[in-house]
Amino acid sequence: MEKIALNVREHIIKMATDGGCFIGASLSATDLMVYLYTRFLNVNKDNLEDPDRDYLFLSKGHDVPALYGTLAELGIIEKSRLANHLSLNDHIYWHPNTHIPGIEFHSGSLGHLPSVAVGVAMDIKISGGNNKVVCILGDGELNEGTCWEAVLVANAYKLDNLIFVIDRNQFQANVRTEELIPLEPLKDKFEAFGAAVKRVDGHDFGQLEEAFSAYPFQPGKLNVVIADTVRGKGLPSIEERADRWFCNFSGQEIDQLLLELHGEAATTLTSETLIVR
């Protein structure tokens, strides 16, 4: 898993030029996606249409470079397609879309996929399947009221086949979550809404394994995993910096960042950081 995660981070860094991408959020979610796809989810290139497959919904959406990279590492999409980022000849752009095999639903407008995931989980309950439904949310995304409506409804319908995974990287687009719209105590909030909650280090595969192997956490309860992560994880010159969210680096800076990823050099970045949302 460590090797795959490193490869995925390389893919992400290479997408942060010629128009750029949301590099910070992608790097915080990388280990979560790699863990889920390699250990937890029954999803592979041969069962993408199988109604009994597991589902992953990427709700915050701008972390999609991590998903593109993971899907490429799993052989679900060709690695060569990653070079088509923002090209008119492909569908690899700043938010997820279903032209990419393995992507179940488009996103980019926050707070939508918790409800879509609720609907899929409801049908699995009605139809009597054993599929698991995972929805990855950003912590800033939890500002949107619809996230909490989905938790209320999931609780009402006892959707213990549904897992909300919170990429708790402590940042909104521009500022720290706790400095703008505080979320803590976050575990208590979800528990008060009726969910069974585990809080783990989202970069520690051992802790992720321990948490997810306990699925379903409690019969009849929505599962919530709060994964504490670091925005920009793997690149010290980007980590936990509010102004390194959406970045469009020069080719030279990309080369430096790849060296930095492998622990070889500290990087000096001069590119303007762009703010999107």
């Binding site: 008119l88 488009h106 009221g145 959406f246 703010i275 999107v276």
Partner: protein, 311 residues
Amino acid sequence: MTYEELLTETALANEQVVVMTAENRALVRNLPGILGKRFIDTGITEQTMVGAAAGLALRGRIPVIHALTSFLTMRAFEFVRTDVGIANLPVKLSGFIPGFLSDGNGPTHQAIEDISLMRGIPNMTVFAPADEDDLVKMLPAIWQSKRPAYTRINTRKTSYQHADYLPGKAEVIAEGSDVTILTYGLLFEQALIALDILKSEGLSVGLINMRSLKPVDEQAILNAAKSNLVVTLEDHFLTGGLYSIVAEVLLKHRQTANVLPLALEERWFKPALLPDVLQHEGFTGKQIAEKILGYRTTSEQPEILLTEFSE
């Protein structure tokens, strides 16, 4: 002058102005320090921001509120309609990255039905400046009005110097008897290029920068309809935008015209960087001119600048 400079000046001159954002700070980055308590960031909560803006307006404030247009006009639509529209409160919506300006974001971020939605709300007024110069010329009147207003924010820099803004009036750039192009917002830049190409092909060409889409300058549309061909040019769905507005005005005045609509028909546009989007969708000045002419020319398309912010 930039948008942020104008907003700063306006807010400092009028204590009643409050600046709000649903965590979209690109255009208001320096305002927290300058405005203190009159800068309110509600986080990623477009609906609550609009409702709260209505509450602030009830107390006499003039909220200038910011979010990406798709979320401001669509996610919060019913709050805009019900809390701002029904109550007719002076809430000023600044929608960021409308139309093609969302370039590589994809359909979730493409606001190409915003004009249609916003002009359908009683009391709401709707504006679409051509570039930054046009924007700062229009906004003082928009913000001074007592009515709710939606503005398609466009901070593109062009070399064009616009005429002063008269509320509700279009800007007539050129008059012509063969073709008149009606447009608004970002595509004004390309319409100017098309104008030159069409003229060099020997046509008598008019160009009108609509500026205010509600209220709309009916006389400008009726005058344009005297041309042999009227072109409506917009980065919006065909339904509900300028083409619809022209149809409504002509019908109201029992007029008819040959109209060529250039808009997005029943589909979202291909996400990519802005110059690629315009080329792919057929909205460069050269492509616009050639669609009007019905033949290819040897004219050159000037380079299209990337968006200053990716948002």
